[in-house]
């Protein structure tokens, strides 16, 4: 999902700075996307395969199951990011990306997205199929957080909404590193907004879990 957008950016013939900024946003978007689908929507696989009911009667909570999936997803994302660096080389995209800072902030941003992941997982428990919710979340969060264009280009109301999304600060921090600037404030904001959504997501998730357990079934597929 990174290369088509990066090649599209090439059409505008802009400099390395532009390409690097676009690449940073796209890599973060890729992490977000994998996190949402593999962790949040990952429950749908267990639900469809019929293993979720067994997991629900085991002495583990759904957030714990999601945490295990999250760790697996982060390891997978790290692997894919290394492959991605190889692809950039093959595509002769000349960019000087701050890889260590980028990966560190991507991991931190992933944790800040746990709230949204839990909301998606909760929607799977309640609706069974919520691919569209996942697709809308993936695109809206990616766009508002500046994955393909910095939020300063957006109209004021949309800029305000961008400021409410943790990923915005993760992407902004790496773009600041690219410009050689300090990143303390964006990281603090990333953690504060991430914690806020994690609390909301946790409440929503626990309610969905409780409802399923009260019903005694995950329902027919």
């Amino acid at each position: 999902m990174v290369a088509p957008y990066l090649l599209f950016a090439q059409l505008y013939g802009a400099d390395e700075g532009f390409r690097s900024s676009v690449a940073v946003g796209l890599i973060f978007w890729f992490w977000l996307s994998n996190f949402l689908w593999e962790v949040g929507y990952g429950l749908e696989n267990d639900l469809e395969a019929g293993t979720l009911e067994s997991l629900l009667v085991a002495p583990v909570s759904v957030p714990l199951i999601l945490s295990a999936k999250a760790i697996a997803c982060i390891l997978n994302n790290l692997f894919v990011t290394v492959i991605l660096a190889g692809w950039f080389y093959l595509f002769t995209f000349s960019m000087d990306l701050p890889w260590f800072g980028l990966i560190g902030l991507a991991i931190l941003s992933s944790f800040s997205l746990l709230g949204f992941v839990m909301i998606l997982a909760g929607s799977v428990l309640l609706l069974k199929r919520s691919e569209s919710i996942g697709a809308v979340l993936q695109t809206v969060l990616g766009l508002l957080s500046g994955a393909t264009a910095p939020p300063r280009l957006f109209p004021l109301p949309i800029r305000v909404m961008s400021g409410l999304i943790p990923l915005t600060y993760g992407i902004a921090a790496v773009r600041l590193i690219l410009q050689g600037q300090r990143v303390g404030l964006p990281i603090v904001l990333l953690m504060v907004t991430g914690t806020f959504y994690a609390l909301i997501g946790h409440v929503f998730m626990r309610r969905a879990e409780k409802r399923v357990k009260t019903m005694g079934t995950t329902g027919e597929f």
Binding site: P4, G13, F18, V22, A49, F91, S132, A149
Partner: protein
């Protein structure tokens, strides 16, 4: 024929069962295009529109991207039948389907038919946006566009036969489809003309029918230039589509034979 029609009806009902999910899919092509549109806006703000026009032959980057998203949404409708097959395997109903009178071709046509019908409905919003932005292309051009889509669909069925066979044999379709779904738009130039692909990828792109289909679609609707003169391009698209269909049919039969030897168990 009757088993195929019954299975088509079942597939359609299954797809529409989760109404919220089904209705929301109307935004799918727009969601696919939106990140590129915003990126295009950024490029325009930085003064890169002239460069875009020089590369694509049109200043209408929103329509250019929307057409790419619509086209991919459509051709994916046929080859993504492997997802349906995988889902039937996972939920344990595939063996029951196999013992009915439904042929494999019937399964593919029914699953893809239901998907394509859904995709057509879900494309309405993006098509309306496209008409609003790029205008109505006229009756003759619509006929030519229909021909491009029909030929592309033929090629897509060829690919679906291959993926169907591979899924039967190797079962784990997720990785396979994920790879195809990501690489195919890249090879076909979903948001860009293929000449900007790295040189090692261009031969693969040129052997791909969808490259010519999408390029022809843009040339027709946006009145831009095409890779080849349009009649030649349509002939090449048709030839490649038939070649994919024949190759796909052969490989499906081959993998089906192998899957019968190895069985469907152990999923």
């Amino acid at each position: 024929m009757r088993p195929t029609l019954v299975f088509f009806w079942y597939s359609l009902k299954y797809r529409a069962r989760y109404r919220g999910d089904f209705v929301w899919s109307i935004v799918a092509p727009v969601l696919f295009a939106l990140p590129a549109i915003v990126l295009g806006y950024w490029g325009e703000q930085l003064g890169g529109l002239q460069s875009f026009v020089a590369a694509t032959g049109t200043p209408q980057y929103v329509s250019y991207v929307l057409l790419g998203a619509l086209y991919w949404n459509f051709v994916e409708g046929a080859w993504s039948v492997a997802y349906s097959l995988h889902s039937a395997m996972r939920s344990g109903v595939l063996e029951s389907i196999f013992v009915t009178k439904l042929s494999h071709l019937g399964m593919i046509l029914a699953w893809s038919g239901a998907r394509l019908l859904g995709t057509t409905m879900h494309s309405a919003l993006a098509i309306a946006l496209l008409i609003g932005l790029a205008g109505w292309p006229g009756g003759v051009v619509i006929g030519q566009i229909a021909l491009v889509l029909a030929l592309s669909l033929l090629g897509s069925y060829g690919l679906s036969f291959i993926l169907f066979g591979l899924t039967l044999r190797f079962r784990d379709a997720d990785s396979l489809l994920y790879t195809v779904s990501n690489i195919a738009p890249l090879l076909g130039g979903v948001f860009f003309p293929i000449y900007i692909l790295p040189s090692f990828m261009r031969p693969f792109s040129l052997a791909f029918p969808f490259t010519y289909g999408l390029d022809a679609l843009r040339a027709l609707w946006l009145r831009g230039r095409s890779i080849l003169p349009l009649p030649d391009q349509l002939a090449l698209l048709g030839a490649l589509a038939v070649a994919y269909l024949v190759l796909g049919w052969w490989s499906m039969k081959h993998f089906e034979l192998l899957s019968r030897r190895h069985g469907l168990e152990g999923f």
